[in-house]
């Protein structure tokens, strides 16, 4: 049975810069369930990143509530929230956000180290994860020495390595060629079927065939929701 892993309840995000206010996301209620791959589509600036950032607890809602695994997140302090993110959420950021001074392998091992795994264990698992994504020989390279597609795959490896229940991917395929895209989407689909919730933000219609549900965002609102 699918379970609700994350939930937005009337969640709203407003940015104020000077005297302009931008409603990045208007009051939104949304469930993210296990065994489901959700696609989030919409034009640039429509609020897609805002939406998954709220789910991923990297930003706080201006109004409304965010639940992750039934925990109301606004009651948590810095430490508890960090731990919640670390244990439950894998994030593939829109611009990769690899940690520049760390090698590819160090980047992938980082969440495991944070979780308290020993260096030996963390690096072993990280190496395996890189191998799965076809980057076995790139572990020692710094991010600046990698191509866009390679960086993207390292970012995916880092998001997957700690085996989080919720996987949030912001344009994870933008820099990938057709083969890599197919491989990664198949992998994400498998992961969702194994019980994870996978949310993928994209502009790419080729991804639709992998989705269980497609959410369309415009002007900070969910305007359409299709279950396929």
């Amino acid at each position: 049975m699918p379970e609700v892993l994350a939930r937005l309840e009337q969640a709203k995000k407003v940015y104020r810069t000077g005297d302009t206010t931008i409603v990045a996301l208007d009051s939104t209620t949304l469930d993210i369930r296990s065994q489901e791959l959700v696609l989030v589509e919409g034009p640039s600036g429509s609020g897609k990143t805002t939406l998954i950032s709220l789910i991923g607890c990297v930003i706080y809602p201006t109004e409304g509530k965010v639940f992750v695994r039934n925990i109301h997140t606004s009651g948590l302090n810095d430490r508890q929230l960090s731990k919640l993110r670390l244990k439950n959420i894998g994030f593939v950021f829109q611009n990769f956000n690899l940690i520049a001074p760390f090698s590819a392998l160090d980047n992938v091992a980082f969440p495991l180290r944070l979780m308290g795994k020993s260096g030996r264990e963390a690096y072993k698992e990280a190496r395996q994860q890189l191998e799965k994504l076809g980057l076995a020989d790139r572990g020692k390279n710094l991010p600046r020495e990698l191509s866009g597609g390679q960086k993207q795959r390292v970012a995916i490896a880092r998001a997957l390595v700690a085996n989080p229940r919720i996987l949030l991917c912001d344009e994870p395929t933008a820099s990938l060629d057709h083969d890599s895209l197919k491989k990664i989407m198949t992998e994400l689909r498998n992961l969702s079927q194994e019980g994870k919730a996978v949310v993928v933000v994209t502009h790419d219609p080729r991804l639709e065939e992998y989705a269980d549900r497609i959410i369309r965002v415009e002007d900070g609102r969910i305007v359409d929701e299709v279950t396929g």
């Binding site: 990143t49 950032s53 991923g56 990297v58 930003i59 810095d78 430490r79 960090s82 731990k83 993110r85 670390l86 244990k87 959420i89 994030f91 950021f93 829109q94 611009n95 956000n97 690899l98 940690i99 520049a100 001074p101 760390f102 160090d106 980082f110 969440p111 944070l114 710094l142 880092r158």
Partner: protein, 372 residues
């Protein structure tokens, strides 16, 4: 933790180098100032510290072993009768002018001591011995005081206040605050310095076994007028205090050290801060992945500690070299273990203090800034 910190340092070597240099310069300057300070204060009190007396009895107005005034010789006999006093031996200090054969002339302070007690004898003797001073016209001299003499020989002739004298004891680094010291017998000092036989500068005492110096001091100060007895340590402290408050050496050293600490901290602070700003995105990513504020704080602190360690090690090496180099010019001092500990604490203070700015900034960064 240190591995990650090292990677951050490695990624931005110029900044790490800058911060290390900041630690190095600040700690070297502090150590250098402290070394000179130790040297100067040891000069101030060298007469007292190197005496074998347990107690110094001086004119009751004297607060400085280098400016003693005079007291009456009759106190010598009277002091001998104080219970607990073993030896009571007068000391004469007198200013004079020494002239070498080649014409070099320098002011000296003559120290006349009574033989064979020698309660103040030449220290750091490298040639001859104190007994050489017993022969006619004998004085001691320090190798560092004579610019024109490479090797000071035993028997080197010179004129002291116009009177033919000979170097019979050579010291290396036995120097006073006021200038060149020359030890001789009390009679010779009186003769050369024209000090009357009924006057002395101080009376040095030793205490019999079974008596404590402070009880003897108390007894003297209770029963004698016009003189004051000091335990050696107390007189040394008093002399140092007097000279420090009159000379400004203390304040200037202190000011320099404070400035070195401030400027060091500013350099380190700004470098670490700008390094952190440059890597803001990386710290935000770490947080977004699940690193707590405590974790990123530790990464910054670890960087500061690594930089501090390297900077301190280099500064310590330079300070030892400085100490050796300056010793050849007669500036002899020892960094005690206390000073090393102090320097280490200063290093920690500098680097951890400098890291604060960066830490505050990094703690404030929101994980969400990874999207910008």
């Amino acid at each position: 933790m240190f591995r990650q910190a090292l990677q951050f340092i490695n990624y931005d070597k110029p900044k790490a180098f800058g911060a290390t240099l900041g630690v190095l310069v600040a700690i070297f300057l502090i150590g250098q100032q402290a070394g000179i300070f130790i040297f100067l204060t040891s000069l101030m009190t060298s007469l007292v510290d190197n005496s074998k007396a347990d107690i110094w009895v001086v004119n009751d107005k004297a607060r400085d072993a280098n400016r003693l005034g005079t007291l009456d010789m009759r106190y010598v006999q009277e002091l001998k009768s104080v219970p607990g006093v073993d030896i009571a031996s007068p000391l004469v200090l007198a200013g004079a002018s020494a002239k070498l054969q080649n014409g070099e002339q320098l002011p000296v302070q003559l120290i006349g001591v009574e033989a064979p007690e020698f309660l103040l004898e030449p220290w750091r003797v490298v040639k001859g011995s104190k007994f050489g001073l017993l022969s006619n016209g004998a004085v001691s001299a320090d190798v560092f005081d004579f610019k024109s003499i490479d090797t000071l020989r035993i028997g080197e002739p010179l004129e002291v206040n116009g009177v033919r004298s000979y170097v019979r004891t050579v010291t290396r680094g036995a120097r006073g605050f006021g200038g060149t010291l020359m030890v001789t017998t009390i009679n010779q000092a009186r003769k050369l310095g024209k000090v009357p036989v009924y006057k002395a500068s101080a009376i040095l005492l030793t205490v019999q076994p079974g008596f404590s110096a402070d009880s003897v001091v108390a007894a003297i100060n209770r029963n004698f007028f016009g003189v004051r007895a000091w335990e050696r340590e107390a007189f040394s402290r008093q002399t140092r205090q007097e000279n420090l408050s009159n000379s400004g050496i203390g304040t200037s050293t202190f000011t320099l050290i404070i400035f070195a600490i401030i400027s060091g901290m500013v350099i380190i602070g700004l470098t670490l801060y700008s390094a952190a700003i440059e890597r803001l995105n990386d710290y935000a990513t770490m947080k977004a992945i699940g690193a707590s504020n405590a974790y990123v704080t530790r990464i910054i602190l670890a960087q500061a500690l690594l930089i501090a360690t390297v900077g301190f090690a280099m500064a310590a090496g330079l300070l030892v070299a400085f100490q050796r180099g300056i010793a050849n010019a007669g500036v002899l001092f020892n960094y005690g273990s206390m000073l090393w500990v102090g320097l280490l604490l200063a290093t920690l203070f500098l680097s951890l203090g400098g890291a604060l700015l960066a830490i505050f900034r990094i703690r404030k960064v929101e994980p969400a800034s990874v999207f910008r």
